[in-house]
């Protein structure tokens, strides 16, 4: 049982590191003459840092990486079968699946928290939990879901598919890639430990001065999210270098699959903006543990500084979440409509346009914050401009579907649902971008409904499209199509019932992040709660289907979707080095309906892209 030993040993080292860190700081504090050597939050910081290092050394970084710095020989142990998912494995396919499974688990946990919240919110008055428990559950739900949204598609689908789609043998920095995944478990542990220190009281946005004066769970929150930001930056860096330098011969920028394009743009967003979250939380950390005064108004600080720095990251973060979702949806739509991606260049232009605009829209989250009045106009204009590139994504999706030969398998249904949901999320965004309507709607359930439409409807639906799309490739087995369609319709209807209804209490006067509300909103909230539970239950079908299919599903073909991109031209699952030989790219990936066109070839072993004209071609 190498896998168990590996994880348990690393966790043990992490615990030892944690207590060492606590003690180390305590000794330092005692030596420097502080009265209470053990009582400071800085002890937790020391413990976390030491614990993190211990965990990483234990999980395998020492053997495969750090030894090199001291001029020693490195090694990686190869664990057989499923056990490789529990080791510091550098194979991008393993890391992609590690990410996906981890974040599905986190997604379900955070979803359970949401169900708990909806139970409390089913009617006015306090029934099941206290205000403090509600706030803790809400904060945890928020930040866990943000983590899922940031990392599940990028880390999971991106890691798995990008090297395959561009014809590379792995990512540019495989060890760095493994590091980005193995930084996640400490983040999860720290976040899940927050209830023991009083629970997150500040929501995921952590506005000061509340966050600088609240309970110590804020420290764990800050440390976890700074670590998480680090994984996001390192992951983005790895994707950019991989996509620039490791494309197969002939894979020009104009032939890049659209999902890879979206990952490329997203990675730039990640490495540029994520520092904003890190800086904002670092400032809170310093205010708390070092007695600094960034956000204390009496001492010359300014709480608004936090909001600026925070949203400087956190608005682009929604594009980090949703752009890979768009890319994935367009990718699936093209293959399942059996048509070239409509207006490919415009779609790429849309991604680049969003990349360019994303950095100048952040203050639309602060229209009511009391920032100086001259800031509202420019941010309103920039925010409305974002809808133009977003419109091009719709052009591309709808144009591809039109007159196509739509093969309505589950991935396609989810991809079409992305477009459907985002139409609603996009239109409600206009109400929030225009200041005159935003004043009333800001911080109400209208906003909650809006961003669930964009992030869940846009990205999480795309994540499920991706999971169903690549499931046969990842596992070599096929899921049950009937159950998958049941899951889709159940989730789609539950989702739209829940979140479309949720707009109404917002307009009617229900503010967000509350455990209680005026009884005049009882009926609407009951409806939302019932639909929310309906939505929640749909994931039981998904879980059953996935687990069952992975264990005893029928063996999948190499190319069950008759798709042209490179990942389908190798076996399911692909071998360690991905392809039998280096593929050479000869044409566009989406040239369905163009006789004689090929996407890629293996010079010594035949066709790689499906010969088009006949849809049956898998190149096998």
């Amino acid at each position: 049982m190498h896998a168990l030993k590996s994880v348990a040993g690393a966790a043990g080292l992490g615990m030892i590191g944690f207590y060492l860190g606590l003690g180390f700081v305590a000794v330092l504090r005692a030596m420097l003459g502080y009265p209470d050597a053990w009582g400071g939050e800085i002890n937790i910081v020391g413990g976390y840092v030491f614990g993190l290092v211990g965990w990483l050394m234990g999980i395998g970084m020492w053997g495969i990486w750090i030894r090199e710095w001291f001029g020693l020989k490195t090694y990686q142990r190869r664990a057989p079968g499923w056990q490789r998912y529990f080791t510091f494995n550098t194979d991008h396919k393993v890391i992609g699946i590690q990410y996906l499974v981890t974040f599905i688990v986190v997604f379900l946990l955070a979803g359970l928290l949401a169900l708990g919240m909806r139970l409390e919110l089913a009617s006015s008055g306090m029934q099941f939990i206290s205000h403090s428990q509600y706030n803790g559950a809400m904060g945890l739900h928020g930040i866990l879901m943000i983590a899922v949204a940031v990392a599940a598609v990028i880390g999971g689908a991106g890691n798995y598919a990008v090297p395959l789609m561009i014809g590379a043998d792995d990512m540019a920095f495989p060890r760095l890639n493994a590091l980005t995944f193995w930084l996640i478990p400490p983040v999860a542990v720290a976040l899940l430990a927050t209830p023991f220190l009083g629970g997150i009281e500040t929501g995921w946005t952590a506005y000061p001065p509340l966050s600088t004066t609240t309970n110590s769970s804020q420290i764990l929150f800050d440390l976890a999210i700074i670590t998480f930001g680090l994984t996001s930056i390192l992951g983005g860096l790895n994707f950019i270098i991989t996509i620039i330098f490791m494309r197969a011969p002939g894979m020009t920028w104009g032939r890049l699959p659209i999902f890879v394009w979206s990952m490329f743009v997203t990675s730039w967003l990640a490495i540029f903006f994520t520092q904003g979250f890190a800086v904002a939380l670092l400032m809170i950390l310093l205010d708390r543990v070092a007695g600094m005064a960034f956000f204390s108004a009496e001492a010359g600080g300014d709480p608004l500084l936090y909001q600026h720095v925070f949203w400087f990251y956190s608005h682009p973060a929604v594009y980090i979440m949703v752009l890979p979702g768009f890319g994935l949806a367009l990718e699936v739509i093209s293959h399942f409509s059996r048509k070239p991606l409509f207006a490919y260049r415009y779609a790429v232009g849309a991604f680049l346009g969003i990349l360019g605009l994303s950095g100048v829209v952040w203050a639309h989250h602060m229209f009511t914050s009391g920032m100086p009045n001259y800031l509202h106009g420019p941010f309103l204009v920039a925010t409305e401009l974002i809808s133009i590139p977003t419109g091009l994504i719709f052009l591309s999706a709808l144009g591809t579907i039109w007159m196509g030969k739509l093969w309505l398998q589950t991935p396609m249904l989810f991809a079409m649902a992305v477009i459907f949901n985002f139409a609603c999320g996009g239109v409600t965004g206009i109400f929030l971008a225009d200041v005159p309507t935003d004043i009333h709607l800001h911080d109400t359930y209208f906003v909650v409904a809006h961003f669930h439409y964009t992030i869940v409807g846009g990205e999480i639906f795309a994540l499920f499209a991706g999971i169903y799309y690549w499931f046969p490739k990842m596992t070599g087995r096929m899921y049950n199509e009937t159950l998958a369609k049941l899951h889709f319709w159940w989730m789609f209807i539950g989702f739209n019932l829940t979140f479309f209804t949720m707009h109404l209490p917002g307009v009617k006067g229900m503010n967000r992040r509350v455990a209680d509300f005026p009884e005049s909103l009882d009926n609407l909230n009951m409806l939302v709660s019932i639909s929310g539970w309906l939505l929640g239950l749909s994931f039981l079908v998904f879980m059953y289907n996935m687990i069952n299919a992975w264990i005893r599903g029928p063996v999948a073909e190499a190319n069950p979707w008759r798709a042209r991109t490179l990942e389908w031209q190798t076996t399911s699952p692909p071998p360690h080095e991905n392809f039998p030989e280096q593929p050479v790219i000869k044409g566009h990936p989406y040239d369905y309906g163009v006789p004689g066109s090929v996407h890629g070839v293996f010079p010594n072993s035949g066709l790689a892209g499906a010969p088009s004209g006949s849809a049956g071609g898998g190149g096998q």
């Binding site: 001291f70 142990r77 920095f173 270098i241 903006f273 600080g301 400087f312």
Partner: protein
């Protein structure tokens, strides 16, 4: 239990160099956002106001850091031409100057007449502190590289660790090029 190497182990050396170099530059790109935001916060909170600081000390540590960049440059140029002796002395001088700079910042901290719970103090200690943490990690990296140099690990063809460490060192210098006037010279 077989022992395997990651995919990168099979790639040609100059592929490594290309990827590593571009990756390091991207890392600098990301880090410069961190420092840029700190600079922005400094001007957001305090405008161009500042507290009195020891000007000669400030100029002194700036010159020291600049000199260390020159010695680091010397070390890299030397190893590019297989001159290990000069590279050795270059690295030693860089490490020594780096320690001197860190000590200078520490001394500045101890004599500062403002406190960290007021706005300028907050900014000054945070900015110099985060910069100094990069200096100290840079020293650590240089020491690791220096030990490998003493063991005869590097040649003119294969010396990425030296080149990378030196690039990192220069980057830390570039950051100080902006921090120094923002903290010491404005107003």
């Amino acid at each position: 239990m077989a022992v395997i190497a990651p995919a990168e182990a099979h790639r040609p050396v100059h592929d490594h160099l290309k990827l590593n170099r571009a990756g390091l530059w991207l890392f600098f790109f990301s880090e410069s956002v961190l420092f840029g935001l700190l600079l922005t916060a400094r001007f957001y909170l305090e405008g161009i106001q500042r507290e009195e600081l020891d000007q000669l000390l400030g100029l002194g540590i700036t010159i020291v850091l600049l000199l260390s960049s020159v010695t680091a440059f010397t070390a890299e140029t030397a190893i590019e031409h297989d001159n290990r002796k000069l590279a050795n002395w270059g690295l030693i001088a860089t490490i020594a100057l780096g320690v001197l700079f860190a000590a200078g910042v520490g001394y500045e901290w101890s004599i500062a007449h403002f406190h960290r719970d007021e706005a300028f103090g907050t900014l000054f200690f945070t900015m110099t502190g985060i910069h100094a943490s990069h200096v100290i990690s840079g020293i650590g990296i240089l020491v690791l590289v220096w030990v490998q140099l003493l063991r005869g690990r590097y040649t003119s063809r294969d010396h990425w660790p030296i080149a990378g460490a030196v690039m990192y060192w220069h980057f830390v210098d570039v950051v100080w090029v902006f921090f120094y006037p923002a903290l010491y010279l404005v107003n």
